[in-house]
Amino acid sequence: MELFPPLMAIESLECGDEVRFQGVVYTARDAAHKRLVKLLEQGEELPFPAKGAVIYYVGPCPAKPGEIVGSAGPTTSSRMDDLTLPLLEAGIKGMIGKGERSEKVITGIKKHKAVYFAALGGAGALLARCIKHMELIAYPELGPEAVYKLEVVDFPAIVAIDARGRSIYQEGRKQYQAGGMLHG
């Protein structure tokens, strides 16, 4: 299924669905999250339109001369767990990263009818090809951790936690657990 951010009604997406993003996503990882949440706490606006926005947890490699961006795969999402709820409250609808999320985030996802997507961790070369434009939006001093506006085409991701709170990390694992020492 193709998704064109800003995202509107995405409740029909189910965990395990394959999607392709077409359009704008914003980058933010550890350091940027701290600053974005601080802005919200101070009652200020985010440096990009929050309604329906998609945040990609990524700190890309710099672009070689003549290129748009270097390797650009997702980073571990759980490091953003404690800073996610204020962004959901501000209207963020989608997050792209890798790995499990905390119960608190899952509850927030359900409450705000948002979706957490997983991109392929360690496929930075492949994913960089889907980024067609990159523009600095905020915090240039953070280098690879700055906030960028990315325009993506056919950017592949999996619905990892859907708006009902179902997680592929839990369901997928259950399906393929084969007894063994730890679960036997």
């Binding site: 700190g59 360690g122 657990q177 730890l182």
Partner: protein, 289 residues
């Protein structure tokens, strides 16, 4: 006395920093291909195929395999007959890292002070481990280590009475907790024995061995196979989406330990496990062997 210039070490580090970020080691590539055939989940199969495609793209177009171009870990084995000439060794290594990261536009991921967290902006310093060995050559291993997986690593000082079962349980618990975070399929380095710092080093050294190469001690080799099979029963699967391939390999290194202790370290790595090695010989001040 064999003279080897640190300039050659710098050049070797430079080349290996670059190459290792573009080229997956042959053993890992082969294991990924095999995994994409064995995986039972169709989504997992698809994921593995895309990861293989990523590695081809990186190799052919000189794009970093992963945006986390890592912290550089260097293992130096210096023959005791070697005298190093030129610049201070650690400076030479860091210069090699610095130039490679700048020239290749790799991400700078190192902060100078772990508490203040200011980026050094050149991906130095590297973490360097030295070993003095018999002989007149210098062996250099360079490995960029990503932290998505490094963060999932763990060390525990077990009681000797916990024995082999305790070791297995700790490894499985660590991997189960890691789940989808370290970009599975993972590669696992395990250290058993020694002291607290020694066991951590053993786990890292274990990651430097090709995964298609068993430990020379039969009982350790069989533990490697058993743990791999057990890890793959956890159901984590490629990227943690569920599946039958959670890890590509388990390597174990062991060392004598104290009567009162059983240290175990688990160093978690990902499908982008990168390492290269070179041996410098003294002829002409450090020709490649």
């Amino acid at each position: 006395m064999a003279l080897i210039s640190t300039r050659h070490i710098k050049e070797a580090v430079y080349d290996m920093c670059k190459n290792s970020n573009y080229n997956l080691p042959a053993d890992v590539s082969e294991a990924m291909l095999a995994a994409s055939r064995q995986e039972k989940s169709s989504l997992g199969k698809q994921v593995l195929a895309q990861l293989v495609e990523n590695s081809h793209l990186a190799r052919e177009q000189n794009i970093a395999l992963c945006q986390d171009t890592g912290m550089i870990v260097v293992f130096l084995e210096i023959g005791q007959e070697v005298s190093l000439t030129g610049q201070a060794i650690e400076e030479a290594i860091n210069e090699g890292v610095r130039s490679a990261y700048q020239d290749s536009f790799f991400r700078n991921s190192i902060v100078h002070d772990p508490l203040i967290r200011d980026n050094t902006n050149d991906n130095t310093p590297a973490v360097v481990h030295y070993k003095i060995v018999p002989g007149d050559t210098v062996k250099i291993v360079v490995s960029p280590k990503g932290f998505g997986s490094e963060n999932m690593s763990a060390l525990r000082m077990l009681k000797p009475s916990q024995g082999l079962d305790g070791v297995k349980a700790f490894v499985l618990e660590t991997i189960s907790t890691a789940g989808g975070n370290p970009c599975p399929p993972m590669i696992i380095g395990v250290g058993i024995g020694g002291t607290m710092e020694k066991v951590a080093l053993l786990a890292k050294e274990a990651l430097m061995r090709p995964i298609n190469q068993d430990h020379i001690l039969p009982h350790v080799a069989s533990l490697e196979h058993e743990l791999l099979a057990e890890i793959n029963k956890l159901g984590i699967g490629p990227q943690g989406f569920g599946g039958s391939v959670s890890a590509l390999g388990v390597n174990i290194e062991v060392y004598p330990t104290h009567i009162a202790g059983l240290p175990v370290a688990v160093n978690v790595s990902c499908h982008v496990t990168r390492h290269q090695q070179r041996i410098l010989a003294p002829k002409n001040g450090g020709d490649l062997l």
